[in-house]
């Protein structure tokens, strides 16, 4: 019962960890390169949540200096994650570009088929 309470109290972390693990699993388990990249993106996105969740304060406003509001969310993690999102987009774009080039060079983006074709030559 106590464990359940801890899980419910920290449900946002549970979601984060679930996303993180499923992303990592997809990267490891799938041979298709686009699917691998999807997994990688899920993995990265879970980290965005890890940063954003603790920064949001219930009932807090946007971080604007105004005497009427004393409770506001921490702006720093949001800014950090904006940077991380840009990095994530760049990585995904480069990964997809490589997948296109691999498809042109090998005629497939399935990892096992690619290894097979390399072994033939």
């Amino acid at each position: 019962m106590q464990t359940l309470g801890i899980i419910l109290d920290h449900y946002s972390y549970v979601i984060t960890i679930f996303l993180m693990m499923s992303g990592l699993y997809i990267v490891a388990a799938r041979g298709n390169m686009v699917k691998k990249l999807v997994g990688l993106s899920i993995f990265q996105t879970s980290v965005y949540l890890l940063y954003i969740e603790p920064a949001k304060i219930l009932g807090g406003t946007a971080p604007i200096l105004d005497p009427a509001f004393s409770v506001y969310s921490n702006p720093l993690p949001h800014v950090l994650i904006l940077t991380a999102i840009v990095v994530g987009v760049a990585t995904l774009a480069l990964g997809l570009a490589l997948a296109v080039r691999i498809n042109e060079a090998y005629g497939t983006i399935e990892e096992d088929e690619i290894f097979e074709r390399d072994r033939e030559t």
Partner: protein
């Protein structure tokens, strides 16, 4: 002059960054190469000036945009950073002249300016990781260097280069993301991203949240270890180094993994080690175990390779094992050995991979079977190669001996005689894989494949000979390598709890 002097920490990042923009706009190979050359030759002066300043008057703290730390981003240069900055910039400066012909030979004309653009971006990232004192800023630079590295590898001549780049992209991104998770947990615990500030706040947080901090330590260590190719997280490295363009391999093997090692040292000794007693955790034991495994398993795999570049790639994994072994000893001699081997291995491996590039330039093959008698056809190239090989084994009179000497001293100081024997024993395996190549290159009759080969032009030969000469020079005069490494190690160990 004073205006420039005060801004050296940011200039060392901005100069290659704007160089990359210009090289991208140049659209033709020669102007792009000229830009890369100028940038590569300017940067060592920045790094040298900072090293001099640090050794003379202590750490430099540069506040980006004049925002005071810990709120603003701080670039903090102490002896360790300055040492790494100097290494990266010197490798870039020395190897750059080699690039023009090697890149001209291996890469299609339209892609050449982009190659130089990517090299400069990679340089930006590597120097940025070394110069910054902000944990998240280090992540951004890590990704700048990584993304450009993936492109550099993908520009390789073989279609397998694409696959190697893709695999490295997946593993590198996982590593970088692990690092961000670790930094995020540290931020949750301390509310700060400034490395010095984290170190100061982590100690008080340890009492209540030791589990989170251990998780942060684990995430950062594993993430950075992926980047530095610590065994068994090295699987991306052999393919990446074998199929990347020759010059890119030489540059990356000498700098990229070394900067990642710097980041590991920074986190273990300047952040976690300062705040908590790492001896209570099995960090050092794990690092030593994996290092020994790297030294033996990777060396053994190297013995059975049929391609010269692949053999050297596995040798890199083994040599990184020596560096992390020294870090794991956590004593003055061991850490000095690890740090000094960062420089010594960088010089040797750059020389070896440049020699491979020169061989490919003339003989169009790096398969060992084809290279019989190459020494007689390319005597200067292969002499430089041989000298660097002796360094790899750790023969007295080369810089490799100095590193192993300090590592053995570190092990003796700990009283671990078995490790001392293991260090010597792994050198014998290096002797086998190196000896095999030297036998093929020097003692056999030249094969048909190398009949037309001869030494490459001066622009390729000079960097190679210079690096090989440095391998011997630093075997005798150790003031600039072991001297600074020892000062640095003393500073790092003095800060430990």
């Amino acid at each position: 002059m004073n205006a420039v002097w005060a801004h050296l920490p940011i200039l060392i990042v901005l100069v290659p960054l704007f160089g990359a923009l210009l090289a991208g706009f140049a659209r033709r190979a020669d102007p792009a190469f000229a830009i890369a050359l100028v940038v590569s030759w300017v940067i060592p002066f920045c790094a040298g000036a900072m090293l001099w300043q640090v050794l003379a008057s202590g750490p430099i703290s540069y506040h980006l945009g004049s925002w005071a730390p810990p709120w603003g981003i701080e670039y903090r240069v102490d002896a360790l950073n300055a040492f790494v900055l100097m290494l990266v910039s010197m490798i870039g400066a020395v190897t750059m002249p080699f690039a023009r012909r090697s890149v001209g030979f291996e890469i299609e004309e339209g892609q050449r300016p982009w190659f130089y653009c990517m090299y400069l971006l990679c340089l930006t990232g590597l120097l940025g990781i070394a110069v910054t004192g902000d944990a998240f800023n280090a992540f951004v630079f890590l990704e700048i260097s990584s993304l450009s590295t993936y492109v550099l590898i993908a520009l390789g001549r073989d279609r397998r280069a694409l696959l190697a780049a893709f695999q490295y992209l997946i593993m590198g991104t996982i590593g970088a993301t692990f690092y961000v998770v670790g930094v995020g947990l540290l931020y949750l615990m301390t509310g700060s991203l400034n490395m010095v500030d984290i170190a100061a706040r982590l100690g008080p947080a340890w009492a209540d949240n030791s589990r989170t901090i251990i998780a942060a330590l684990a995430f950062v260590t594993v993430g950075v270890s992926l980047k530095l190719a610590l065994f068994p997280l090295h699987v991306w490295l052999p393919n990446a180094y074998s199929y990347a363009p020759s010059w890119a391999t030489a540059f990356l093997s000498a700098t990229a993994t070394k900067v990642a090692i710097y980041l590991l040292v920074r986190f273990l000794f300047s952040i976690f080690g300062v705040a908590i007693d790492l001896r209570a955790l099995p960090v050092a034991a794990i690092i030593i175990g994996l290092s020994l495994a790297a030294m033996y398993i990777a060396s053994l795999i190297a013995v059975f390779q049929s391609s010269l570049s692949r053999m050297l790639a596995y040798s890199s994994v083994a040599q990184i094992g020596y560096i992390t072994l020294g870090i794991g000893f956590v004593n003055l001699a061991g850490l000095t050995g690890g740090l000094v081997h960062i420089v010594n291995h960088a010089l040797m491996k750059a020389a070896l991979f440049l020699a491979v590039g020169a061989v490919f330039f003339r003989a169009r093959t790096v398969q060992l079977d084809d290279l019989a008698g190459i020494g007689r056809k390319m005597p200067i190239t292969m002499t430089a190669f041989t000298v660097a090989c002796f360094g790899l084994i750790g023969t007295p009179g080369t810089s490799g001996f100095i590193s192993k000497w300090y590592l053995a001293l570190g092990a003796i100081e700990r009283g671990w005689w078995l490790v001392v024997f293991l260090i010597v024993g792994s050198s014998l395996i290096a002797l086998i894989y190196v000896g095999r190549v030297l036998e093929i290159a020097w003692l056999r009759e030249p094969s048909a494949a190398v009949a037309e080969a001869r030494d490459p032009p001066l622009s390729m030969l000079a960097p190679l000979v210079l690096l090989a000469a440095a391998t011997i020079y630093f075997g005798f005069d150790t003031e600039w390598t072991a001297g600074i490494a020892s000062t640095t190690a003393k500073g790092l160990l003095g800060g430990l709890r």
